[in-house]
Symmetry: C2
Subunit: 210 residues, 2 copies
Amino acid sequence: MPRDHRPAKSIRVLLAEDQGMMRGALALLLGMEPDIEVVAQVGTGDVIVDAALTHRPDVALLDIELPGMSGLDAAAELRDQAPDCRVLILTTFGRPGYLRRAMEAGAAGFLVKDGPVEELAVAIRRVLTGETVVDPALATAALSAGPSPLTARECDVLKASADGATVADVAARLHLSESTVRNYLSAAIGKTGTRNRMEALREARQQGWL
Amino acid sequence: MPRDHRPAKSIRVLLAEDQGMMRGALALLLGMEPDIEVVAQVGTGDVIVDAALTHRPDVALLDIELPGMSGLDAAAELRDQAPDCRVLILTTFGRPGYLRRAMEAGAAGFLVKDGPVEELAVAIRRVLTGETVVDPALATAALSAGPSPLTARECDVLKASADGATVADVAARLHLSESTVRNYLSAAIGKTGTRNRMEALREARQQGWL
DNA sequence: GTGCCACCCTGACATTTGTCACACCGAACT
DNA sequence: AGTTCGGTGTGACAAATGTCAGGGTGGCAC
Protein backbone atom coordinates (compact mmCIF):
# COMPACT_ATOMS: atom_id res chain seq x y z
CA MET A 1 0.00 0.00 0.00
CA PRO A 2 1.66 3.25 -1.09
CA ARG A 3 1.94 5.70 1.82
CA ASP A 4 3.44 8.72 0.15
CA HIS A 5 3.17 12.10 1.82
CA ARG A 6 -0.19 13.74 1.51
CA PRO A 7 -1.57 17.10 2.63
CA ALA A 8 -2.69 17.26 6.24
CA LYS A 9 -6.29 18.11 5.33
CA SER A 10 -7.52 15.87 2.55
CA ILE A 11 -11.17 15.61 1.53
CA ARG A 12 -12.51 12.16 2.40
CA VAL A 13 -14.75 10.79 -0.38
CA LEU A 14 -17.14 7.83 -0.48
CA LEU A 15 -17.78 6.49 -3.98
CA ALA A 16 -20.95 4.51 -4.78
CA GLU A 17 -21.19 3.25 -8.38
CA ASP A 18 -22.18 -0.15 -9.67
CA GLN A 19 -20.15 -0.31 -12.85
CA GLY A 20 -16.79 -1.65 -11.73
CA MET A 21 -14.71 -0.02 -14.42
CA MET A 22 -16.30 3.38 -13.95
CA ARG A 23 -15.88 3.08 -10.20
CA GLY A 24 -12.22 2.12 -10.50
CA ALA A 25 -11.45 4.83 -13.00
CA LEU A 26 -13.09 7.55 -10.94
CA ALA A 27 -11.35 6.37 -7.77
CA LEU A 28 -7.98 6.49 -9.48
CA LEU A 29 -8.56 9.91 -10.94
CA LEU A 30 -9.87 11.41 -7.71
CA GLY A 31 -7.01 9.83 -5.78
CA MET A 32 -4.58 11.74 -7.95
CA GLU A 33 -5.94 15.08 -6.81
CA PRO A 34 -3.64 16.30 -4.06
CA ASP A 35 -6.45 17.24 -1.67
CA ILE A 36 -8.82 14.32 -2.25
CA GLU A 37 -8.73 10.86 -0.73
CA VAL A 38 -11.18 8.08 -1.65
CA VAL A 39 -11.80 6.35 1.66
CA ALA A 40 -14.49 3.88 0.56
CA GLN A 41 -15.87 2.36 -2.62
CA VAL A 42 -19.15 0.45 -2.80
CA GLY A 43 -21.03 -1.17 -5.67
CA THR A 44 -24.50 -1.56 -4.14
CA GLY A 45 -26.87 0.91 -2.54
CA ASP A 46 -27.66 -0.96 0.64
CA VAL A 47 -24.15 -0.67 2.08
CA ILE A 48 -23.77 3.08 1.52
CA VAL A 49 -24.96 4.10 4.97
CA ASP A 50 -22.84 1.48 6.73
CA ALA A 51 -19.77 2.55 4.80
CA ALA A 52 -20.43 6.20 5.57
CA LEU A 53 -20.78 5.49 9.30
CA THR A 54 -17.51 3.58 9.50
CA HIS A 55 -15.37 5.72 7.17
CA ARG A 56 -16.85 9.14 7.94
CA PRO A 57 -16.44 10.72 4.50
CA ASP A 58 -16.83 14.45 3.92
CA VAL A 59 -18.54 13.87 0.57
CA ALA A 60 -20.57 10.91 -0.72
CA LEU A 61 -20.58 10.58 -4.49
CA LEU A 62 -23.68 8.51 -5.31
CA ASP A 63 -24.99 6.99 -8.51
CA ILE A 64 -28.81 6.80 -8.62
CA GLU A 65 -29.49 3.49 -10.32
CA LEU A 66 -27.86 1.01 -7.97
CA PRO A 67 -28.67 -2.57 -7.02
CA GLY A 68 -30.08 -2.91 -3.54
CA MET A 69 -31.09 0.67 -2.81
CA SER A 70 -31.49 3.77 -4.95
CA GLY A 71 -28.88 6.47 -4.47
CA LEU A 72 -31.72 8.91 -3.82
CA ASP A 73 -33.05 6.84 -0.93
CA ALA A 74 -29.51 6.46 0.38
CA ALA A 75 -29.11 10.24 0.27
CA ALA A 76 -32.21 10.67 2.41
CA GLU A 77 -30.88 8.16 4.94
CA LEU A 78 -27.50 9.85 5.02
CA ARG A 79 -29.12 13.17 5.86
CA ASP A 80 -30.51 11.57 9.02
CA GLN A 81 -27.69 9.28 10.05
CA ALA A 82 -24.61 11.19 8.87
CA PRO A 83 -25.64 14.83 8.54
CA ASP A 84 -22.04 16.03 8.26
CA CYS A 85 -21.59 14.09 5.01
CA ARG A 86 -22.52 16.16 1.96
CA VAL A 87 -24.14 14.22 -0.84
CA LEU A 88 -23.22 14.66 -4.50
CA ILE A 89 -25.45 12.76 -6.94
CA LEU A 90 -23.74 11.46 -10.08
CA THR A 91 -26.14 9.99 -12.60
CA THR A 92 -26.31 8.87 -16.19
CA PHE A 93 -29.21 11.02 -17.33
CA GLY A 94 -30.31 14.42 -16.12
CA ARG A 95 -33.96 13.62 -15.65
CA PRO A 96 -35.85 16.57 -14.20
CA GLY A 97 -37.64 14.38 -11.66
CA TYR A 98 -34.34 12.93 -10.48
CA LEU A 99 -32.97 16.38 -9.77
CA ARG A 100 -36.12 17.35 -7.93
CA ARG A 101 -36.04 14.23 -5.79
CA ALA A 102 -32.32 14.63 -5.15
CA MET A 103 -32.88 18.10 -3.77
CA GLU A 104 -35.79 16.90 -1.65
CA ALA A 105 -33.48 14.20 -0.28
CA GLY A 106 -31.02 16.86 0.81
CA ALA A 107 -28.37 16.45 -1.88
CA ALA A 108 -25.80 19.22 -2.16
CA GLY A 109 -25.08 18.68 -5.83
CA PHE A 110 -26.21 16.92 -8.99
CA LEU A 111 -23.86 15.95 -11.82
CA VAL A 112 -24.51 14.06 -15.03
CA LYS A 113 -22.01 11.54 -16.32
CA ASP A 114 -22.01 13.16 -19.72
CA GLY A 115 -19.96 16.11 -18.59
CA PRO A 116 -16.16 16.25 -18.61
CA VAL A 117 -14.29 14.47 -15.80
CA GLU A 118 -12.66 17.68 -14.66
CA GLU A 119 -16.03 18.84 -13.36
CA LEU A 120 -15.95 16.16 -10.73
CA ALA A 121 -13.13 17.34 -8.48
CA VAL A 122 -14.29 20.93 -8.87
CA ALA A 123 -17.79 20.00 -7.79
CA ILE A 124 -16.49 18.07 -4.78
CA ARG A 125 -14.56 21.08 -3.55
CA ARG A 126 -17.48 23.41 -4.12
CA VAL A 127 -20.06 21.38 -2.21
CA LEU A 128 -17.65 21.37 0.74
CA THR A 129 -17.78 25.16 0.88
CA GLY A 130 -21.53 24.91 1.29
CA GLU A 131 -22.32 25.70 -2.32
CA THR A 132 -25.05 23.81 -4.16
CA VAL A 133 -23.78 22.69 -7.54
CA VAL A 134 -26.31 22.01 -10.30
CA ASP A 135 -26.24 22.52 -14.04
CA PRO A 136 -28.30 25.70 -14.52
CA ALA A 137 -30.05 24.47 -17.68
CA LEU A 138 -31.07 21.29 -15.92
CA ALA A 139 -32.31 23.26 -12.91
CA THR A 140 -34.63 25.40 -15.01
CA ALA A 141 -35.87 22.32 -16.84
CA ALA A 142 -36.70 20.66 -13.53
CA LEU A 143 -38.53 23.72 -12.33
CA SER A 144 -40.51 24.27 -15.49
CA ALA A 145 -41.48 20.60 -15.71
CA GLY A 146 -43.25 20.78 -12.37
CA PRO A 147 -43.65 17.92 -9.92
CA SER A 148 -44.83 14.45 -10.83
CA PRO A 149 -48.55 14.29 -11.61
CA LEU A 150 -48.68 10.60 -10.73
CA THR A 151 -50.16 9.44 -7.45
CA ALA A 152 -48.35 6.89 -5.30
CA ARG A 153 -50.61 4.08 -6.41
CA GLU A 154 -50.19 4.95 -10.07
CA CYS A 155 -46.42 4.77 -9.61
CA ASP A 156 -46.72 1.40 -7.90
CA VAL A 157 -48.80 -0.02 -10.72
CA LEU A 158 -46.50 1.41 -13.41
CA LYS A 159 -43.40 0.02 -11.76
CA ALA A 160 -45.05 -3.37 -11.29
CA SER A 161 -46.05 -3.37 -14.97
CA ALA A 162 -42.48 -3.01 -16.12
CA ASP A 163 -40.86 -5.79 -18.14
CA GLY A 164 -44.12 -7.09 -19.51
CA ALA A 165 -45.96 -8.15 -16.39
CA THR A 166 -49.59 -8.80 -17.27
CA VAL A 167 -52.51 -7.08 -15.55
CA ALA A 168 -53.27 -10.26 -13.62
CA ASP A 169 -49.68 -10.40 -12.33
CA VAL A 170 -49.80 -6.83 -11.12
CA ALA A 171 -53.21 -7.30 -9.53
CA ALA A 172 -51.94 -10.35 -7.66
CA ARG A 173 -48.74 -8.69 -6.48
CA LEU A 174 -50.50 -5.54 -5.26
CA HIS A 175 -53.65 -7.30 -4.00
CA LEU A 176 -55.97 -5.36 -6.28
CA SER A 177 -58.74 -6.17 -8.69
CA GLU A 178 -57.75 -6.38 -12.34
CA SER A 179 -60.17 -3.58 -13.11
CA THR A 180 -58.39 -1.35 -10.62
CA VAL A 181 -55.03 -2.04 -12.15
CA ARG A 182 -56.35 -1.24 -15.60
CA ASN A 183 -57.85 1.97 -14.27
CA TYR A 184 -54.59 3.16 -12.71
CA LEU A 185 -52.76 2.36 -15.90
CA SER A 186 -55.36 4.29 -17.85
CA ALA A 187 -54.90 7.27 -15.52
CA ALA A 188 -51.12 7.12 -15.91
CA ILE A 189 -51.51 6.93 -19.67
CA GLY A 190 -53.75 9.96 -19.62
CA LYS A 191 -51.51 12.02 -17.38
CA THR A 192 -48.41 11.24 -19.40
CA GLY A 193 -50.20 12.03 -22.63
CA THR A 194 -49.31 8.64 -24.11
CA ARG A 195 -51.21 5.85 -25.82
CA ASN A 196 -50.42 2.69 -23.89
CA ARG A 197 -48.62 1.40 -20.82
CA MET A 198 -45.32 1.01 -22.59
CA GLU A 199 -45.19 4.62 -23.68
CA ALA A 200 -46.38 5.73 -20.26
CA LEU A 201 -43.63 3.71 -18.64
CA ARG A 202 -41.00 5.18 -20.92
CA GLU A 203 -42.22 8.73 -20.36
CA ALA A 204 -42.44 8.32 -16.57
CA ARG A 205 -38.92 6.93 -16.46
CA GLN A 206 -37.71 9.70 -18.74
CA GLN A 207 -39.09 12.29 -16.36
CA GLY A 208 -37.69 10.51 -13.31
CA TRP A 209 -41.13 9.94 -11.82
CA LEU A 210 -40.56 6.34 -10.79
CA MET B 1 -0.13 20.69 -25.52
CA PRO B 2 2.36 18.75 -23.42
CA ARG B 3 4.95 17.11 -25.58
CA ASP B 4 6.98 15.19 -23.01
CA HIS B 5 9.23 12.37 -24.11
CA ARG B 6 7.40 9.16 -24.93
CA PRO B 7 8.59 5.73 -26.02
CA ALA B 8 9.32 5.38 -29.70
CA LYS B 9 6.70 2.68 -30.22
CA SER B 10 3.49 3.64 -28.47
CA ILE B 11 0.21 1.85 -29.06
CA ARG B 12 -2.24 4.14 -30.84
CA VAL B 13 -5.79 3.77 -29.42
CA LEU B 14 -9.15 4.98 -30.70
CA LEU B 15 -11.78 5.33 -27.96
CA ALA B 16 -15.51 5.23 -28.79
CA GLU B 17 -17.82 5.71 -25.81
CA ASP B 18 -20.89 7.87 -25.48
CA GLN B 19 -20.79 8.69 -21.79
CA GLY B 20 -18.53 11.74 -21.57
CA MET B 21 -17.23 11.15 -18.09
CA MET B 22 -16.43 7.50 -18.75
CA ARG B 23 -14.71 8.43 -22.00
CA GLY B 24 -12.63 11.13 -20.36
CA ALA B 25 -11.67 8.95 -17.42
CA LEU B 26 -10.60 6.06 -19.64
CA ALA B 27 -8.64 8.36 -21.91
CA LEU B 28 -6.76 9.85 -18.99
CA LEU B 29 -5.98 6.48 -17.47
CA LEU B 30 -4.86 4.93 -20.73
CA GLY B 31 -2.77 7.99 -21.49
CA MET B 32 -0.83 7.40 -18.30
CA GLU B 33 0.36 4.02 -19.46
CA PRO B 34 3.86 4.56 -20.84
CA ASP B 35 3.27 2.57 -24.02
CA ILE B 36 -0.28 3.70 -24.83
CA GLU B 37 -1.43 6.84 -26.61
CA VAL B 38 -5.09 7.78 -27.14
CA VAL B 39 -5.08 9.31 -30.61
CA ALA B 40 -8.85 9.82 -31.03
CA GLN B 41 -11.99 9.99 -28.92
CA VAL B 42 -15.50 9.84 -30.35
CA GLY B 43 -18.93 9.84 -28.75
CA THR B 44 -21.07 8.53 -31.61
CA GLY B 45 -20.89 5.41 -33.73
CA ASP B 46 -21.14 6.96 -37.16
CA VAL B 47 -17.80 8.75 -36.96
CA ILE B 48 -15.76 5.73 -35.84
CA VAL B 49 -14.68 4.68 -39.31
CA ASP B 50 -13.75 8.21 -40.34
CA ALA B 51 -11.71 8.70 -37.21
CA ALA B 52 -9.96 5.39 -37.73
CA LEU B 53 -9.06 6.26 -41.31
CA THR B 54 -7.57 9.62 -40.38
CA HIS B 55 -5.80 8.66 -37.14
CA ARG B 56 -4.77 5.10 -38.00
CA PRO B 57 -5.05 3.56 -34.53
CA ASP B 58 -3.63 0.14 -33.71
CA VAL B 59 -6.56 -0.69 -31.47
CA ALA B 60 -10.16 0.56 -31.51
CA LEU B 61 -11.91 0.36 -28.14
CA LEU B 62 -15.64 0.35 -28.95
CA ASP B 63 -18.72 0.52 -26.79
CA ILE B 64 -21.70 -1.34 -28.30
CA GLU B 65 -24.66 0.89 -27.47
CA LEU B 66 -23.78 4.12 -29.23
CA PRO B 67 -25.89 6.82 -30.85
CA GLY B 68 -25.67 6.78 -34.63
CA MET B 69 -24.23 3.35 -35.26
CA SER B 70 -23.77 0.27 -33.11
CA GLY B 71 -20.22 -0.56 -32.12
CA LEU B 72 -20.75 -4.01 -33.60
CA ASP B 73 -21.64 -2.63 -37.00
CA ALA B 74 -18.69 -0.27 -36.76
CA ALA B 75 -16.44 -3.25 -36.03
CA ALA B 76 -17.63 -4.98 -39.19
CA GLU B 77 -16.92 -1.87 -41.24
CA LEU B 78 -13.49 -1.48 -39.69
CA ARG B 79 -12.59 -5.02 -40.70
CA ASP B 80 -13.15 -4.03 -44.32
CA GLN B 81 -11.85 -0.47 -44.37
CA ALA B 82 -9.05 -0.60 -41.78
CA PRO B 83 -8.03 -4.24 -41.46
CA ASP B 84 -4.84 -3.39 -39.56
CA CYS B 85 -6.85 -1.93 -36.70
CA ARG B 86 -7.72 -4.52 -34.06
CA VAL B 87 -11.12 -4.11 -32.44
CA LEU B 88 -11.70 -4.48 -28.72
CA ILE B 89 -15.36 -4.35 -27.68
CA LEU B 90 -16.08 -2.76 -24.30
CA THR B 91 -19.68 -3.13 -23.20
CA THR B 92 -21.89 -2.72 -20.17
CA PHE B 93 -23.41 -6.18 -20.13
CA GLY B 94 -21.92 -9.47 -21.20
CA ARG B 95 -24.83 -10.64 -23.29
CA PRO B 96 -24.08 -13.94 -25.02
CA GLY B 97 -25.48 -12.72 -28.32
CA TYR B 98 -23.31 -9.61 -28.19
CA LEU B 99 -20.19 -11.72 -27.81
CA ARG B 100 -21.24 -13.94 -30.68
CA ARG B 101 -21.93 -11.02 -32.96
CA ALA B 102 -18.71 -9.32 -31.92
CA MET B 103 -16.73 -12.37 -32.96
CA GLU B 104 -18.63 -12.62 -36.24
CA ALA B 105 -17.79 -8.95 -36.83
CA GLY B 106 -14.11 -9.74 -36.46
CA ALA B 107 -13.48 -8.35 -32.99
CA ALA B 108 -10.23 -9.36 -31.32
CA GLY B 109 -11.51 -9.01 -27.78
CA PHE B 110 -14.57 -8.51 -25.62
CA LEU B 111 -14.51 -6.81 -22.22
CA VAL B 112 -17.33 -5.97 -19.82
CA LYS B 113 -17.32 -2.70 -17.95
CA ASP B 114 -17.86 -4.49 -14.66
CA GLY B 115 -14.30 -5.73 -14.47
CA PRO B 116 -11.40 -3.85 -12.90
CA VAL B 117 -9.83 -1.01 -14.88
CA GLU B 118 -6.43 -2.70 -14.83
CA GLU B 119 -7.79 -5.30 -17.25
CA LEU B 120 -8.08 -2.68 -19.92
CA ALA B 121 -4.45 -1.88 -20.63
CA VAL B 122 -3.56 -5.56 -20.31
CA ALA B 123 -6.22 -6.49 -22.84
CA ILE B 124 -5.04 -3.82 -25.26
CA ARG B 125 -1.50 -5.18 -25.19
CA ARG B 126 -2.68 -8.74 -25.58
CA VAL B 127 -4.87 -8.16 -28.62
CA LEU B 128 -1.88 -6.50 -30.29
CA THR B 129 0.09 -9.73 -30.00
CA GLY B 130 -2.67 -11.46 -31.93
CA GLU B 131 -4.29 -13.01 -28.94
CA THR B 132 -8.09 -13.07 -28.63
CA VAL B 133 -9.14 -11.90 -25.19
CA VAL B 134 -12.52 -13.01 -23.86
CA ASP B 135 -13.75 -13.88 -20.40
CA PRO B 136 -13.83 -17.72 -20.45
CA ALA B 137 -17.08 -17.99 -18.49
CA LEU B 138 -18.78 -15.64 -20.91
CA ALA B 139 -17.42 -17.57 -23.88
CA THR B 140 -18.89 -20.86 -22.71
CA ALA B 141 -22.20 -19.13 -21.96
CA ALA B 142 -22.27 -17.74 -25.49
CA LEU B 143 -21.53 -21.14 -26.96
CA SER B 144 -24.08 -23.03 -24.90
CA ALA B 145 -26.77 -20.45 -25.61
CA GLY B 146 -26.57 -21.10 -29.34
CA PRO B 147 -27.32 -18.60 -32.07
CA SER B 148 -30.37 -16.38 -32.21
CA PRO B 149 -33.56 -18.22 -33.18
CA LEU B 150 -35.12 -15.04 -34.51
CA THR B 151 -35.33 -14.39 -38.23
CA ALA B 152 -34.32 -11.02 -39.67
CA ARG B 153 -37.92 -9.90 -40.07
CA GLU B 154 -38.79 -10.89 -36.53
CA CYS B 155 -35.91 -8.78 -35.27
CA ASP B 156 -37.07 -5.83 -37.35
CA VAL B 157 -40.57 -6.02 -35.97
CA LEU B 158 -39.37 -6.43 -32.40
CA LYS B 159 -37.04 -3.47 -32.66
CA ALA B 160 -39.76 -1.34 -34.25
CA SER B 161 -42.14 -2.31 -31.45
CA ALA B 162 -39.85 -0.94 -28.78
CA ASP B 163 -40.96 1.99 -26.65
CA GLY B 164 -44.64 1.28 -27.05
CA ALA B 165 -45.12 1.65 -30.78
CA THR B 166 -48.50 0.25 -31.71
CA VAL B 167 -49.03 -2.48 -34.32
CA ALA B 168 -50.33 0.09 -36.79
CA ASP B 169 -47.18 2.20 -36.34
CA VAL B 170 -44.92 -0.76 -37.00
CA ALA B 171 -46.95 -1.89 -39.99
CA ALA B 172 -46.74 1.58 -41.49
CA ARG B 173 -43.00 1.93 -40.88
CA LEU B 174 -42.19 -1.49 -42.31
CA HIS B 175 -44.81 -1.44 -45.09
CA LEU B 176 -46.56 -4.56 -43.83
CA SER B 177 -50.11 -5.59 -43.04
CA GLU B 178 -51.08 -5.34 -39.40
CA SER B 179 -51.80 -9.05 -39.43
CA THR B 180 -48.26 -9.73 -40.52
CA VAL B 181 -46.82 -7.64 -37.76
CA ARG B 182 -48.95 -9.42 -35.20
CA ASN B 183 -47.84 -12.74 -36.58
CA TYR B 184 -44.13 -11.92 -36.36
CA LEU B 185 -44.62 -10.71 -32.84
CA SER B 186 -46.43 -13.92 -32.02
CA ALA B 187 -43.55 -15.93 -33.48
CA ALA B 188 -41.01 -13.96 -31.47
CA ILE B 189 -43.07 -14.46 -28.33
CA GLY B 190 -43.18 -18.19 -28.97
CA LYS B 191 -39.46 -18.50 -29.69
CA THR B 192 -38.47 -16.53 -26.61
CA GLY B 193 -40.85 -18.52 -24.44
CA THR B 194 -42.56 -15.38 -23.21
CA ARG B 195 -46.14 -14.19 -22.91
CA ASN B 196 -46.29 -10.82 -24.67
CA ARG B 197 -44.25 -8.42 -26.77
CA MET B 198 -42.78 -6.64 -23.79
CA GLU B 199 -41.36 -9.80 -22.27
CA ALA B 200 -40.16 -10.91 -25.68
CA LEU B 201 -38.41 -7.59 -26.16
CA ARG B 202 -36.75 -7.80 -22.77
CA GLU B 203 -35.60 -11.37 -23.34
CA ALA B 204 -34.29 -10.67 -26.85
CA ARG B 205 -32.36 -7.66 -25.59
CA GLN B 206 -31.05 -9.67 -22.66
CA GLN B 207 -29.68 -12.27 -25.04
CA GLY B 208 -28.23 -9.67 -27.36
CA TRP B 209 -30.38 -10.77 -30.27
CA LEU B 210 -31.36 -7.29 -31.43
C1' DG C 1 -38.20 -32.54 -62.12
C1' DT C 2 -40.32 -33.43 -57.17
C1' DG C 3 -40.53 -33.05 -52.60
C1' DC C 4 -39.10 -30.59 -48.61
C1' DC C 5 -38.25 -26.82 -45.69
C1' DA C 6 -37.71 -22.21 -44.07
C1' DC C 7 -39.19 -17.82 -44.46
C1' DC C 8 -42.48 -14.24 -45.64
C1' DC C 9 -47.08 -12.61 -45.71
C1' DT C 10 -52.25 -12.45 -44.68
C1' DG C 11 -57.25 -12.86 -42.67
C1' DA C 12 -60.46 -14.71 -38.97
C1' DC C 13 -61.02 -15.45 -34.16
C1' DA C 14 -60.20 -15.37 -28.76
C1' DT C 15 -57.83 -12.88 -25.20
C1' DT C 16 -55.91 -8.94 -23.16
C1' DT C 17 -55.73 -4.11 -22.71
C1' DG C 18 -57.57 0.69 -22.39
C1' DT C 19 -61.76 3.80 -21.52
C1' DC C 20 -65.62 5.35 -19.16
C1' DA C 21 -69.20 6.08 -15.65
C1' DC C 22 -69.76 5.42 -11.06
C1' DA C 23 -69.37 4.27 -5.66
C1' DC C 24 -66.56 4.77 -1.33
C1' DC C 25 -63.62 7.19 1.89
C1' DG C 26 -61.03 10.80 4.47
C1' DA C 27 -59.30 15.64 4.57
C1' DA C 28 -60.11 20.45 4.13
C1' DC C 29 -62.99 24.22 3.92
C1' DT C 30 -67.81 26.92 4.89
C1' DA D 1 -73.56 19.74 10.27
C1' DG D 2 -72.92 19.89 4.84
C1' DT D 3 -69.96 20.32 0.73
C1' DT D 4 -66.25 19.86 -2.22
C1' DC D 5 -62.26 17.52 -3.79
C1' DG D 6 -58.61 14.20 -4.66
C1' DG D 7 -57.27 9.57 -4.17
C1' DT D 8 -58.86 4.83 -4.26
C1' DG D 9 -61.40 0.94 -5.99
C1' DT D 10 -64.78 -1.57 -9.30
C1' DG D 11 -67.59 -3.41 -13.36
C1' DA D 12 -69.24 -2.96 -18.39
C1' DC D 13 -67.89 -1.94 -22.93
C1' DA D 14 -64.70 -0.80 -27.12
C1' DA D 15 -60.12 -1.31 -29.10
C1' DA D 16 -55.71 -3.33 -29.42
C1' DT D 17 -53.05 -7.54 -28.95
C1' DG D 18 -51.96 -12.51 -29.49
C1' DT D 19 -53.12 -17.15 -31.77
C1' DC D 20 -54.11 -20.10 -35.41
C1' DA D 21 -54.64 -22.01 -39.93
C1' DG D 22 -53.16 -21.38 -44.28
C1' DG D 23 -51.26 -19.48 -49.11
C1' DG D 24 -47.05 -17.97 -51.77
C1' DT D 25 -42.04 -18.06 -52.90
C1' DG D 26 -37.25 -19.46 -53.32
C1' DG D 27 -33.35 -22.49 -52.11
C1' DC D 28 -31.65 -27.19 -51.65
C1' DA D 29 -31.34 -32.26 -51.47
C1' DC D 30 -32.68 -36.33 -53.84
